[in-house]
């Protein structure tokens, strides 16, 4: 499924630090991944894991005054880290589109939906406003907004949550990007609306062969949408591989606990697995493996050195020195 050859996006050793009163605070560390055209990679993690910050850093959407981005982000072979705002402008929205979690705060409340979509078209595709406005209706149609010719004249507050998120998708598509970053695109939506919006997102990206970087905390959404998964914990990727494989046989203790802690009808009567304690704040990331203090598999060696992201099996990378035991434990349980 995964296309070989040069990936569309190549991220190597991405590290993000915030300037604080106590000096630089590193919140994301050593994040590397590839994304091929037409592929969907889900970045999964709890709040504070660094998933949103990592995605925003890809196109330098973090404040330069408050943050430092290190490492390399290559989009179509071009290095994005360190690019000037002017040089980034055609890429933001043109090469890489972004869909934010909260459409109400991401959309401009004082201009119409149509104008906001047209703005993207005018900025990236050298078309006149007149042509852009005509095209805007087409984009609303693509995201299955009813009566698009009337909706273009409406303001964000006149739309429902699901409609606004579709409008956000239409805006992201309007630049005809080859990659879309979607940050928790359906988290604020009801389950029936979530199903509609995910369907639209999958269809529109698949039709274009665009890559999708999906940030979410919902493993069900991952299972149904993503080809590959990268699980983040405390600013690092702890496990990455084929989404279905990882969800079926997680090899990092964190991924495993995450999966078994999800309540479901099938889990009735059983006590839910929990992870003791909570996600550490970047100021006190533990030394060694960052998950070790909360890990049921932890041994003394876990706290001495940061485990590398090492291969387990054919297409899996896991940051755990006991990954093999975790896999065999999971296998034993499945049997």
């Amino acid at each position: 499924m995964i296309k070989r050859g040069t990936p569309l996006l190549q991220v190597r050793d991405l590290a993000i630090s915030f300037r604080t009163s106590r000096g630089l605070l590193r919140v994301v560390d050593g994040v590397s991944f590839d994304l091929a055209a037409g592929e969907c990679l889900a970045v999964v993690g709890e709040s504070g894991s660094g998933k949103t910050v990592s995605a925003l850093a890809l196109i330098s959407l973090l404040s330069r005054r408050q943050s430092v981005i290190e490492g390399s982000v290559k989009f179509k072979g071009k290095e994005l880290v360190g690019l000037s705002e002017d040089a980034l402008r055609p890429i933001r929205g043109g090469g890489i589109g972004v869909i934010f979690q909260e459409p109400l705060s991401a959309l401009n409340p004082v201009t119409t939906i149509g104008e906001q979509i047209s703005e993207v078209i005018v900025a990236h595709r050298k078309l006149s406003w007149r042509e852009a406005k005509k095209l805007a209706i087409g984009y609303l149609e693509q995201v299955e907004i009813s009566q698009p010719d009337q909706r273009v004249r409406q303001f964000p507050h006149e739309l429902s949550g699901g409609m606004r998120q579709r409008a956000m998708i239409a805006m992201a598509l309007a630049g005809e990007p080859s990659m879309i970053i979607a940050d928790e695109p359906t988290t604020a939506l009801d389950v029936t609306i979530q199903a509609q919006v995910l369907e639209v997102l999958r269809r529109t990206t698949t039709e274009r062969g665009a890559a999708l970087l999906l940030i979410t905390h919902d493993l069900g959404v991952v299972a149904e949408t993503a080809d590959r998964i990268a699980v983040m914990y405390a600013g690092q990727i702890v496990e990455t591989g084929n989404a279905a494989d990882v969800l079926r046989t997680p090899a990092s203790p964190y991924t495993r606990d995450l999966i078994t802690s999800i309540p479901s009808f099938a889990a009735r009567g059983r006590k839910l697995a929990t992870i003791k304690g909570m996600v550490p704040s970047p100021a006190d990331f533990p030394s060694g493996c960052r998950f070790a203090p909360r890990c049921r598999y932890a041994i003394a060696a876990c706290t001495t050195a940061t485990p590398p992201l090492a291969p387990v099996g054919k297409s899996r990378l896991v940051r755990c020195i006991r990954a093999k035991d975790v896999v065999s434990g999971a296998a034993r349980r499945a049997r």
Binding site: M1, E46, R268, T274
Partner: protein
């Protein structure tokens, strides 16, 4: 019209044909009209002692409003709310205050529901003060006790809300509810704002407390996974009414209302399954100011479309009635489904043959489903 499960003991909470309307002003200035938002529109429901009943539905279905009416936080516009055999409306102010001690609520937003300028111990103590329970010493002891009960260090009592994480704040909310030793708690989306690993901690805590203290819960949630895991009975709400109600095992395995089927089908699942089976409902929940005639769900109903849009759905409002197939389950649909979970798959939906005994002549099932409701995506390459 209520056909809920009758337990041996009489129900702790009983709602009979409860309505809660909110007045809004609509129309153009000068010819403004008074309109009613029918947030809850005729719900009958009973909760037995020790039972956990869930209200599940999309935003705008009226579940939170119903929870508030059940607690007496908002008066019912019509209908009866009885708690432990006594109608709440008929109680004097003093009696009502005494009742408040027995019923508590835990709110969804652990950030918005705590006072940022008051140490959490003082906030937990407020309920004890309001009900004049114990002297200062006893109250302090009780605060430490409930903090310990919810798994927080009793020494944290002097700390402020901002010093706690989301999960810890939700525990504080639970501790505050438990302080006065209630028997009935309305849990309004208690885990929706939490991360999965924290969510499971809080759910386990709520289950332990239920076990230990014999608590009765009215659990309000939009998350079907949580509801399926946590509750004994479930009431599926749509636009102010209950469309299906019954024991969780039966409603989740053999959903009979097309809306329940759609909700269950829409939940993203981790286990391997065919995404093409996903039933995607068209449109959104209509306005509760002017709900559709007949069946409220008809504007989005995939089954109605499949049946060739029978007139009955438009002209006659289906009443919530005991299902002939399983007397514990009530369903409000003219054409309840028989196939259980199979009807959540694409194949199962096509195979649905509904007896049209009571249907109008137009109700001839079409060979294949049509339209947006059954549109599927091709698997991602």
């Amino acid at each position: 019209m209520a056909a809920t499960r009758r337990t041996a003991s009489k129900p702790l909470l009983e709602l009979t044909d409860v309505k809660r309307y909110f007045r809004v002003r609509g129309g153009i200035p000068l010819i403004r009209k008074e309109l009613n938002v029918r947030a809850v529109d005729g719900v009958s429901l009973s909760v037995a002692r020790g039972e956990t009943v869930s209200l599940v539905g999309e935003s705008g279905s009226g579940k939170t409003t119903l929870g508030r009416v059940a607690l007496g936080l908002q008066p019912a516009t019509a209908g009866h709310v009885t708690y432990d055999g006594r109608e709440i409306r008929s109680l004097s102010a003093g009696e009502r205050r005494a009742l408040r001690k027995r019923m508590q609520i835990v709110f969804q937003d652990p950030f918005g529901s705590l006072n940022p300028r008051l140490p959490i111990g003082d906030q937990i103590e407020e309920g004890l003060l309001a009900h004049k329970l114990g002297d200062e010493n006893a109250r302090g002891k009780r605060v430490r006790e409930v903090l310990d009960l919810v798994g927080l260090d009793p020494d944290y009592a002097s700390r402020y809300p901002h010093e706690f994480s989301g999960g810890q704040r939700q525990r504080i909310g639970i501790a505050r509810a438990l302080a006065v030793n209630p028997e009935f708690i309305v849990l309004d989306e208690p885990v929706s704002a939490l991360d999965v690993s924290i969510q499971s901690q809080v759910l386990n805590l709520l289950a332990e407390l239920r076990e230990e203290k014999g608590l009765t819960y009215l659990f309000i949630s939009h998350n079907l996974d949580v509801v399926g895991y946590f509750s004994d009975r479930v009431a599926v709400m749509y636009l102010g009414t209950v469309v299906e109600m019954g024991p969780v095992e039966q409603v989740f395995k053999k959903p009979q209302h097309p809306y329940t089927v759609a909700l269950l089908s829409a939940v993203p699942k981790i286990e391997a399954h065919d995404v093409k089976d996903r039933l995607i409902l068209a449109g959104e929940i209509p306005s509760p100011i002017n709900p559709p005639s007949g069946c409220r769900f008809r504007t989005r109903c995939w089954l109605r479309e499949q049946l060739g849009n029978p007139d009955r759905c438009t002209t006659e409002e289906p009443k919530l009635a005991a299902s002939p197939r399983s007397p514990d389950v009530s369903v409000a649909c003219h054409f309840p489904l028989e196939n259980g979970l199979a009807s959540t798959t694409a194949k199962g939906r096509q195979a649905i043959k509904v007896k049209t005994k009571a249907a109008s002549t137009k109700a001839v099932p079409k060979a294949a489903p049509k339209g947006r409701a059954t549109k599927k995506r091709s698997a991602r390459a």
